[in-house]
Amino acid sequence: MSNKRPILSVENLTKVFGGVVAVDNVSFTVEEGEIFAVIGPNGAGKSTLFNMITGVLPSSSGNIYFQEKRLNRKKPYQIAQMGITRTFQNLEVFDNMTVIENVMTGAHITMKTNILTAGLRLPSVRNEEVKTMERAMEALEAVGISDLAYEIADRLPYGSQRLLEIARAAISNPKLILLDEPMAGLNSEESRQLVEVILKMREQGMTFLFVEHDMETVMSISDSIVVIDNGVKIGEGTPEEIYQNPQVVAAYLGDEEEEGVEAYA
């Protein structure tokens, strides 16, 4: 933590959907190696923010920089190739593949096989496959579901699918992993397991940016938090600072006398 270097900076990011401002002039910076949380009530614009960072949605204005490279207008797969991977709020595992194939797909960008060499199955292809499979197995072991490696992903319990998504996101050695509500739908045992995995990966130098509603998790593992309500950033700081921020409390508990909660029409 000593020499903090920014890895992702979001500057004045705005997204307008047909006249409705979903994300309004939001800025923040994620430092290398930290766990960074974005929180806010339902409909606050967190997912929109995520989608802009990963290139799923184009931003209306503002900039996103990843390791000093501008991400705007990059396609999602290009952003992935630069070293940002993600998980999804409503699980997006490749349900037509086995677990290990899912993870191997995650290693896609680290492989070189092309359609011709693949079709002819050259020795180099075979080599690469074996290596990738070994790495995938390691990644599965790291999240603790290696015993399910040959199951069809679709048949996994919900919690394991989440872990699978994380293994898939991690295998390509990304610099930043975005987690979209990783705890949603997990029971406490599963949540704990997931938290452990995240903490372990962070120790290995991975940076996490995540959106979460489960405040317990957020408060216990994040280094920094940004709070968004109705598309506007209403707070930023360490968990303690956030907990004491009256604006944030208001946003969650809905105190109608409170100022600063912009209305939307």
Binding site: P41, N42, G43, L156, P157, Y158, Q161, E181, A184, G185, N187, S188, H213, D214, M215, E216, T217, V218, M219, N230, Y243, Y252, L253, G254, D255, E256, E257, E258, V261, E262, A263, Y264, A265
Partner: protein, 243 residues
């Protein structure tokens, strides 16, 4: 009026509702609060017949209605005003309201028109924009329209999913008062799902907190408002809220 016993609902592999029990009497306003993903919307969806429960029962006026589909639910008087309003954006305000009475329009043509006037009395703002397409209304107006449309179904039980979502506090207050009025003056039974805990509990008779598909706290709204655990539940410092 409405009795829910050990209700379970699955979304694929996800066990969303994990044994819900509650009873509701006529004219009561029940607020259900809880964090995102707790299963509130699924609960309302299950009650409205949108989702099939995997086990458990729903009794309405002593009759088992667990397996009814949406159309039957609406006809028997249970109506859901969905999250994010879901109005018919290209249809006019009037058409939106009229479609609310779809299931009885042909039978009670005249009565529907009378009630249409009544509903408009409840939402005077809508009166001025009857021919405007629903999509051009402001968020608050759309919410009123959605509630009005729900009322046109002439429901005995009205369910609202996060009516305050994305609305300014003043408008939220308005809407909450209207809901209260509905209960008091028309004897409607209302289930209100809200994230805006304070606003909801202020108007509700009773409230319950939903977490991980189960009701973890319930009581009168006053009790809940004063319960420090409710506030804590939102910030996750309370292990009790977790299973």
């Amino acid at each position: 009026m409405l009795k829910v016993t050990d209700l379970h609902t699955h979304h694929g592999y996800l066990h969303v509702l994990n044994g819900i029990n509650f009873e509701l009497s006529e004219g009561e306003l029940l607020a259900i609060v809880g964090s995102n993903g707790a299963g509130k919307s699924t609960l309302l969806g299950t009650l409205a017949g949108v989702y099939r429960p995997s086990s458990g029962s729903i009794e309405y006026k002593g009759k088992d209605i667990t397996k009814q589909n949406v159309q039957k639910m609406v006809s028997s008087g249970i109506c859901l005003v969905p999250e994010r309003r879901q109005i018919f954006s290209s249809l006019s305000v009037k058409d939106n309201l009229m479609l609310g009475a779809y299931h009885r329009y042909r039978r009670d043509h005249k009565k529907v028109h009378d009630e249409y006037e009544e509903v408009l009395e409840l939402f005077p703002r809508l009166k001025t924009m009857l021919n405007r397409p629903g999509g051009l209304l402001s968020g608050g107006e759309q919410q009123m329209l959605a509630i009005g449309r729900g009322l046109m179904a002439n429901p005995k039980v009205l369910m609202l999913d996060e009516p305050s979502l994305g609305l300014a506090p003043l408008i939220v207050k308005d809407i909450m008062q209207i809901l209260r009025k509905l209960c008091d003056e028309r004897g409607a039974t209302i289930i209100l799902v809200e994230q805006n805990v304070k606003a909801a509990l202020k108007v509700a008779d009773r409230g319950c907190v939903l977490a991980h598909g189960q009701i973890v706290i319930s009581g009168t709204s006053q009790e809940l408002l004063n319960d420090p655990k409710v506030q804590e539940a939102y910030f996750g410092k309370m292990e009790a809220a977790k299973v």
